[in-house]
């Protein structure tokens, strides 16, 4: 088999089970791809020794017949997750040299399921950013490109999105407080889910806003997201807010049948100044939902600017509270940059970004009228140059006008792929 790193989790799982491939081979393929893709800035701490050791163990486990779905699957872990004995610094110099003596619950669950950690992934510093340009490691780069410019993979889980999109790993963990999984997934044409709050334990994940943070999978397909989320989910005594509910078999729910489901289309999601490109993707998404039997219903959402304001206020408030910093007097590090990093989402909001509502209302069903909404994740394209303040700018592009992740992947734009060879 060639290009093993390009397999999906589901394909790799089946091939491992049949004995067509070993986890060590899969892992080697990923490690080679990682070494050839330093230009992407995705993997910031590589752990090849740990990876090969875990892969060998996984192979034995598969041989013995005791193998959960994630066994032997090479994954990347966002730098926000504490990993025992491996640098975990939330892309900040403040935590430089920190090697936790413990493992986060989510990365531990993946390890227990036999997943192979390839290394740690780039992100915005302390997850505060939407373009992976505030990282102490430098920018992460989107493997997709339309010309010779480097484009952002989004953020804060930018390294995770970039790595998955470039086939450096089969999947990666991300975390999402106000879009940090969903937006980078959209900008790289990958699949990301922010689970309902409480589904995954937050223990061992460096906190941003504790009442909003959730870990989630970032994968190549919806099926993979279902498989990986199941391995990440579950109640944890160490996180009292984690939900004490049974974890369903998410993969078994992927019937592809949404006939008769009512899907709300909030009118306000179409923002002023939205480009024709995005508008076309949006309409394509609608048609795809209709074609498979979804019942679309227009929603009038009360005062979306307030929802945006709500989100910005919440994040800033919680962020300000969590700002304890040993070196606040240095304007290049510490609280000063936190304060200013914290103001950028506010600018995004006023410039008319498609608004992302708070997760609880989403999963509870909007106004009782529907269980899913069509939601664009980003309203920018490569031709939009957004000035991010402090003289920096970023190119945003949209390659996935996502619909509801559970149902389908919509509207991936056809663009050239960046050559990630050295």
């Amino acid at each position: 088999m060639s290009d093993l790193n390009k397999l999906t989790i589901a394909e790799a799982r089946d091939a491992l089970k049949k004995g067509d491939v070993t986890s060590v081979e899969l892992t080697q393929a990923c490690l080679t791809a990682i070494d050839g893709a330093d230009a992407l800035g995705a993997f910031v701490h590589k752990t090849p020794e740990i990876a090969l050791e875990r892969a060998a163990t996984a192979d034995e486990r598969i041989k013995s017949g005791d193998a959960p779905a994630m066994c032997g699957i090479p994954v990347g872990i966002k730098d926000l997750f504490c990993t025992k004995g491996v640098a975990s610094q939330a892309a900040s110099n403040i935590l430089e040299g920190f090697k936790p003596e413990y493992e986060s619950t989510v990365s531990g669950k993946l390890a227990d399921a036999g997943a192979v950690m390839l290394g740690k992934l780039n992100m915005d510093e302390f997850a505060m950013g939407s373009s992976n340009e505030t990282s102490a490691y430098g920018n992460a780069v989107n493997p997709w490109k339309v010309d010779d410019r480097n484009l952002t993979p989004g953020g804060s889980s930018g390294g995770s999105a970039s790595a998955v999109a470039a086939d450096l790993c089969l999947a990666a963990t991300g975390t999402d407080t106000g879009g940090s999984i969903r937006q980078p997934a959209a900008l790289t044409g990958t699949v990301g889910i922010k689970p309902t709050y409480g589904r995954c334990s937050r223990w061992g994940i460096i906190a941003f806003a504790s009442s909003l943070d959730q870990a989630g999978p970032m994968t190549k397909t919806v099926r993979d997201a279902a498989i990986m989320l199941e391995a990440m989910s579950g109640h944890d005594e160490k996180d009292s807010t984690s939900a004490d509910l049974a974890v369903p078999n998410f993969e078994a729910m992927l019937t592809g049948d949404i006939r008769g489901k009512v899907i709300g289309i909030p009118r306000e999601y179409r923002v002023d100044g939205m480009s024709d490109e995005i508008e076309a993707l949006w309409q394509t998404g609608r048609k795809m939902l209709e074609a498979v039997g979804g019942l679309l219903r227009r929603l009038l959402q009360p005062r979306p600017p307030c929802a945006r304001a709500d989100q910005a206020r919440l994040r800033r408030g919680v962020r300000a509270r969590s700002g304890c910093d040993p070196d606040a007097s240095d304007p290049r590090r510490g609280l000063w940059s936190w304060v200013h990093g914290g103001c950028r989402p506010g600018r995004d909001v006023s410039s008319g970004r498609v608004h992302r509502d708070r997760e609880p209302r989403r999963s509870a069903g909007y106004l009782g009228a529907c269980r899913a909404r069509q939601a664009g994740t980003a309203a920018r394209t490569a031709t939009h140059r957004q000035t991010l303040g402090r003289g920096r700018s970023a190119e945003y592009r949209l390659c996935a006008g996502t619909g509801r992740g559970f149902c389908f992947q919509a509207g991936k734009m056809v663009v050239e792929r960046r050559d990630v060879s050295p």
Binding site: F98, E101, T196, E237, W336, A364
Partner: protein, 95 residues
């Protein structure tokens, strides 16, 4: 209510964050943006709307008040820049 340059300077001082004089107007503006968001929220009519704090029907978990994991001083101090005799060592702050 609006935050002026002097108030921004005072807030920065109270937070013990050094802000250069020429950066104060921008900081004041950002504070005002935040207040603007709160104003917008105050305009929403929430009469008769039941507050929602969670979608998960569960009470916060409680546990017995007992030591579960102890005797880990070495591990806890492992990442300390300076540790002596089983304690974190920090620069003297009170004369």
């Amino acid at each position: 209510m609006s935050i002026d340059k002097d108030t921004a300077r005072k807030v920065a001082h109270l937070a013990r964050i050094r802000v250069e004089e020429d950066a104060l107007p921008a900081l004041a503006e950002e504070f005002n943006n935040i207040l603007g968001f709160i104003e917008q929220l105050n305009e929403v009519n929430v009469d008769g709307i039941e507050p929602m704090t969670s979608v998960t029907p569960m009470r916060l978990k409680r546990r017995a008040d007992v030591v579960t994991e102890g005797d880990q001083a070495d591990k806890i101090l492992k990442n300390a820049p300076d540790a002596r005799e089983g304690f974190f060592a920090v620069p003297k702050v009170v004369e």
